[in-house]
Symmetry: C2
Subunit: 302 residues, 2 copies
């Protein structure tokens, strides 16, 4: 049986690592990325262009990108929070360097969270994000966008579906390559995932692909991914081992684990292009680097 | 919104504890059960009537049962693997004692696993289980049955849906109170859960209720529960904190956690009758007793 194909966006190098308290060396990050490509990841979020004082773990973004394998079959994504970030992403391509292939913009679906996280209300974030999307396009840089806190806000609690969909509708005017919904704090349930992605699919009318970004903070991440798949999502963020935490729940786990997503999808007849055994081997290697076991259930059961 | 109601079967005292290497005292078990009732559990698997040399943790089954709160609103289940077990369950009611309300029988849907675990092929297990169901009924004891390894076998790998459904069909002749499918080793995916419970529902024709028993060994347990719910299952086994391991994957986690199941269902508009905050408090208490954190994602995020 084959029900279809999904694309993995391996976000371990960025979302997975950014909350790690100890700085990982550029060399180890490049080794990690190389192993991720080795298990079949072809689209990777490799760094974020944020101020190094805000996220010290990403201070070597340019050095990581300069060291990436020059592969034409891989798409490297740099996260950008403002126009300065887009300019840094563009600069990685100067003088014939390979650089990043795509920037990922982020807009928060909550006024309070947005103000605390990026100093912007939703309206301000929308204006800036639209501006960034236009700017990136004008400069020949591919760009997509993620609506974060789409399933709930650590400060406001509920985030209305209408709020999320109105943001998506306005972003769609700029024709980004993809619009993602992120359950940044991991509160969503499969029921909501099916509902919200179903509505997003209607809003986008098939013209702009959807991507899903789930955290497993409350154990629902894999269930949410399956419901999102059934609602038409074919691209999923996940991180090796389930790396990545939640600053609002320090003892909680992070992104859905690549291994767990792949296991669930592959055994459901969905092609993923990922070599699960190689991913588990990469997990064991990186667990040794960090000196602790990673959350992935599949890797623990192996 | 309300989509319906589910019934939790709290299996922590039995499936959750049986693999604990250190013996938990009867007093602590009764304290645990009391806290479970405190958070709203009204149906509990309190012990198994197995030989104490096989499962030393269950050696005090009769003592635990003798100490249970005499509540008419609770259903206490004793697990039985043979007729001798049913007789022990019946004996708990002698001399006017409250005892257990229901026995739970188990049949393994794999010849190899059944022979290793209970010394029986599927056919032998079916004959004995039918006999046990008839015997329990004749003696006035309520009885239900679980088909274990229904989603996969640690020795044979795949378990065919036809095998599981044929077992269910034959068990249905004895009209048990309920037929459950158990993913004993936690290999199932939501796709399979929806398929198999959908087919089971058709096989049983609405005459015998279904129950689902999932393990979160590979991170799919909550996703499976949601698909089973959508396929018509309204009764779910879960254990406080996700207690319970997998003898075939020593580092893996166990049953789906009560807290995680309840969180997912409640936030999807399904009534559960469980006080999540009280369950998390019970988790913290029992984690202190065991001296380690329990797997429940929801409790860790709290």
């Amino acid at each position: 049986m084959s029900f279809g194909t999904i694309e993995l966006v391996e976000v371990g190098p960025r979302d997975g690592l950014q909350n790690e308290p100890d700085i990982i060396s550029t060399e180890v990050k490049l080794d990690l990325i190389s192993r991720m490509i080795g298990y079949g990841a072809r689209r990777l979020e490799v760094a974020s262009f944020v101020h190094p004082q805000r996220v010290p773990q990403m201070a070597d973004a340019e050095a990581v990108i300069a060291g990436l394998p020059d592969r034409s079959d891989c798409t490297y994504i740099g996260l950008v929070l403002n126009k300065r970030g887009v300019m840094r992403a563009l600069a990685t391509r100067e003088n014939g360097a390979r650089g990043v292939d795509q920037v990922g913009c982020v807009i928060v679906a909550s006024d309070t969270f947005g103000q605390k996280n990026q100093g912007q209300t939703i309206a301000e974030g929308l204006a800036e994000t639209r501006d960034m999307l236009r700017f990136a396009r004008a400069e020949g840089m591919r760009a997509q966008v993620t609506i974060s806190a789409a399933f709930g806000c650590p400060f406001e609690g509920e985030v209305k579906h209408e709020t999320v969909l109105a943001i998506a509708e306005e972003l769609a005017i700029e024709n980004p390559e993809e619009i993602a919904l992120a359950d940044t704090i991991g509160v969503g349930t499969p029921w909501e995932a099916g509902e919200l992605f179903g509505k997003l699919g209607e809003t986008l009318g098939g013209k702009i692909p959807m991507r899903a970004h789930f955290h497993n903070t409350r154990g629902t991440g894999i269930a949410n991914a399956w419901e999102a798949y059934k609602a038409g999502v074919r691209t999923f963020d996940a991180s090796l081992g389930g790396l990545g935490g939640c600053p609002f729940a320090p003892r909680a786990t992070g992104n859905i684990a690549t291994e767990d997503l792949i296991y669930m999808m592959a055994r459901s007849g969905v092609d993923t292009g990922i070599d699960l055994a190689a991913a588990i081997a990469a997990n064991k290697w990186f667990a040794d680097v960090l000196g602790r076991e990673l959350p992935s259930a599949v890797a623990r059961a192996a």
